[in-house]
């Protein structure tokens, strides 16, 4: 067996694959955060809870109504996104114009509330969700075994990420969005319904989180606390990439997943901390993050 730096190639590529998959989740989640922060200046501490809701909804919809994976892939993000719109409309709107820190505190409280209620109903042990039949098995690439589902996650996450980036940076709708949050009065004057635009933007960011949740359901253990574990890591990713930078969130997300995977291969004890270490180093040299603009 061929070795690289004393590590068998199969082990290394296996860890790299896991890294890229985790990176895909980081990218989807930090992208949602970046959309919400970049456009609305809301620090969405409820993002982890929304990711968890996406996964929980997938399992619950299947158990209660027999909704299959493909339908859940659309239905769960829509439901959770709708819930996000309600949160924006009833809660976040009331503190618009206040110090941004209050949005952080409000969403933190909301996350505690949502997570706590679901923990009481479903407990903290993982719920089972079985893989769709189509994705059972995998392909032998010669140097490693690639499960189909993992390949699918990487591909679909990338497609959604790039689509979102394209929509916000390159289309007219994205231009409205950016303008609406930059100077809402002017956009109101042009006849654009800015409050609606804000609600929908928040809902869309939340949908991205829920979508990641659906993708996670068949491979990770689905529990009410799954969101709070990943949330802080994703915040670190966003800080490294530069808060509010759409492209930065995607690239950094995947990069951090890979770095984490490599650390797991070469020095396992540091694997859970390495992202935060990278963050410290990046901040020392570029306080605005890799792709951020100096505020």
């Amino acid at each position: 067996m061929s070795m690289i730096f004393g590590v068998p190639l199969a082990v290394l590529s296996g860890q790299l694959l896991i890294g890229v998959i985790n990176g895909a989740f980081y990218a989807l989640l930090s992208l949602g955060l970046a959309v919400i922060f970049g456009l609305l200046k809301i620090i969405n501490f409820a993002h982890g809870a929304m990711y968890m809701l996406g996964a929980m909804a997938t399992v619950i919809l299947f158990d209660a109504l027999g909704v299959n994976y493909w339908v859940a892939l659309f239905l769960a993000p829509l439901l959770v996104g709708g819930f996000g719109v309600l949160i924006e409309y009833f809660l976040l709107r009331r503190i618009a114009g206040q110090d941004h820190i209050y949005s952080l505190l409000l969403t933190f409280g909301a996350a505690l509330l949502i997570g706590g209620v679901l923990t009481n109903i479903y407990g903290v042990s993982g719920l089972r969700y079985s893989m769709p039949d189509l994705f059972k098995g995998g392909i032998n690439l010669g140097f490693m075994f690639l499960p189909y589902y993992r390949a699918w996650v990487i591909v679909i996450a990338l497609v959604v990420c790039l689509g979102t980036w394209f929509m916000i940076e390159k289309t007219k709708l994205g231009a409205y969005l950016r303008a609406g949050t930059e100077d809402s009065q002017l956009m109101q004057g042009f006849g654009i319904n800015v409050p609606l635009l804000i609600s929908l933007t928040y809902g869309f960011g939340v949908m991205l989180a829920a979508f990641a949740g659906v993708l996670a359901a068949p491979i990770y253990s689905v529990t009410p606390v799954m969101g709070s574990h990943i949330l802080i890591t994703v915040f670190a990713v966003v800080v490294i990439g530069g808060m509010g930078s759409i492209g930065g969130a995607i690239i950094t997300g995947i990069m951090m997943g890979v770095i984490e995977g490599l650390t797991k291969t070469f020095y396992p004890p540091a694997s859970s901390a390495v992202i935060f270490l990278v963050m410290v180093v990046v901040l020392m040299f570029r306080p605005a993050g890799l792709f951020g603009k100096e505020a």
């Binding site: 409000l106 409280g109 909301a110 935060f276 020392m284």
Partner: protein, 331 residues
């Protein structure tokens, strides 16, 4: 010429009024201290000590958030560092007297605070919050991996030992008065800090940082000092907590703890002196009362609900709202 309203008499009247208000404050504070002195005869001392430790933690946090406008989302790191350091020293060096262990824990948190401050000070607002959060997470992972912390199980059986080698702290009443003395000293220190010229600069930084810069203040130095003092006091709270409960655990390092101290400060009233104390008392009591009753499993969602409600409707917190109410109704 006999002018009843000359400058001097107006001045005198203002001074008198000030004196009367100071006297009122003194009486109120005196009454509170008497209450605290008598409290262990009416309530379980360990529970009171828990409140005092968290109150000190919240007072420390509030110095930074309430008075300087810096939201640290990583204060759990200092609480835990103080706790683990003190716990480790007292458990492994049996000759050490307790106050040395506590001082060492505080010193360790102070050093960590300086490191945090230097790394995070260049960012503002929510960026600052995120950076402190991530730094604290690094500390959390360090504690998870290190063998001396006991990992997930935590550190147990930390001896309370003797104060100055004489006073037996195994006795709850002795322990209580020690904690109370430390707490009051720290409270007075913070009161002194915020009313000093230094404290005025901190407030001006909170209200309008660019203006403070343009007035020629080296804003970053002021902020770093505030951060370090706050970290030191938070570490002291953690050190005392580990002695009181004779245990230190990962709970104290988890980011939820950083959120909890924000909740305490916010509910009590940030930017007021007494607010964090009231907030800590309120939150610790709610957690305790709920954990005894049928709502045992609903502590988290209820705290979350309180959080949301406070941010939406009572942003000045209990003490802040009371002050507003008094001002409106009493002239």
């Amino acid at each position: 010429m006999n002018q009843p309203f000359d400058q001097a008499s107006i001045h005198k009247a203002i001074l008198e009024q000030q004196k009367a208000e100071d006297r009122k404050k003194l009486i109120l504070n005196g009454a509170l201290v008497l209450l605290l002195l008598a409290a262990p005869f009416a309530m379980y001392p360990v529970f009171l000590m828990k409140i005092l430790c968290f109150a000190l933690f919240a007072v420390a946090f509030n110095l930074l958030f309430g008075f300087t406008g810096l939201l640290s989302f990583g204060h759990a790191a200092f609480l835990a560092t103080g706790g683990y350091t003190t716990g480790y020293l007292l458990s492994n060096y049996s000759g050490l007297s307790t106050e040395v262990g506590i001082l060492a824990g505080t010193a360790m948190a102070t050093v960590l605070g300086l490191a945090f401050a230097l790394l995070s000070i260049r960012r503002q607002g929510i960026y600052f919050a995120m950076v402190t959060l991530a730094l604290a997470q690094l500390v959390f992972f360090f504690f998870v991996q290190s063998s001396f912390t006991g990992g997930e199980d935590g550190m147990h059986g930390i001896p309370r030992g003797e104060l100055f080698g004489v006073i037996n702290l195994e006795d709850n009443l002795n322990m209580y008065y020690f904690v109370l003395a430390v707490f009051l000293a720290c409270y007075l220190l913070v009161q002194r800090i915020v009313s000093s010229p230094y404290g005025q600069v901190l407030r001006s930084i909170k209200q309008n940082e660019p203006r403070a810069v343009s007035l020629g203040y080296n804003v970053n130095r002021y902020k770093i000092l505030a951060f370090v003092i706050s970290a030191a006091l938070a570490g002291l709270a953690g050190s005392m907590k580990s002695v009181v409960f004779q245990l230190a655990s990962l709970n104290d390092a988890h980011w939820h703890m950083s959120g909890e101290v924000i909740l305490m400060t916010l509910v009590g009233g940030m930017g007021t002196l007494l607010g964090p104390v009231v907030g800590a008392t309120f939150v610790v009591n709610i957690e305790y009362q709920l954990s005894q009753g049928p709502l045992r499993d609903w502590v988290d969602p209820i705290l979350g609900g309180i959080f949301v409600l406070t941010v939406l409707a009572f942003r000045s917190g209990i003490v802040g709202e009371l002050q507003k109410f008094m001002k409106k109704n009493m002239g």
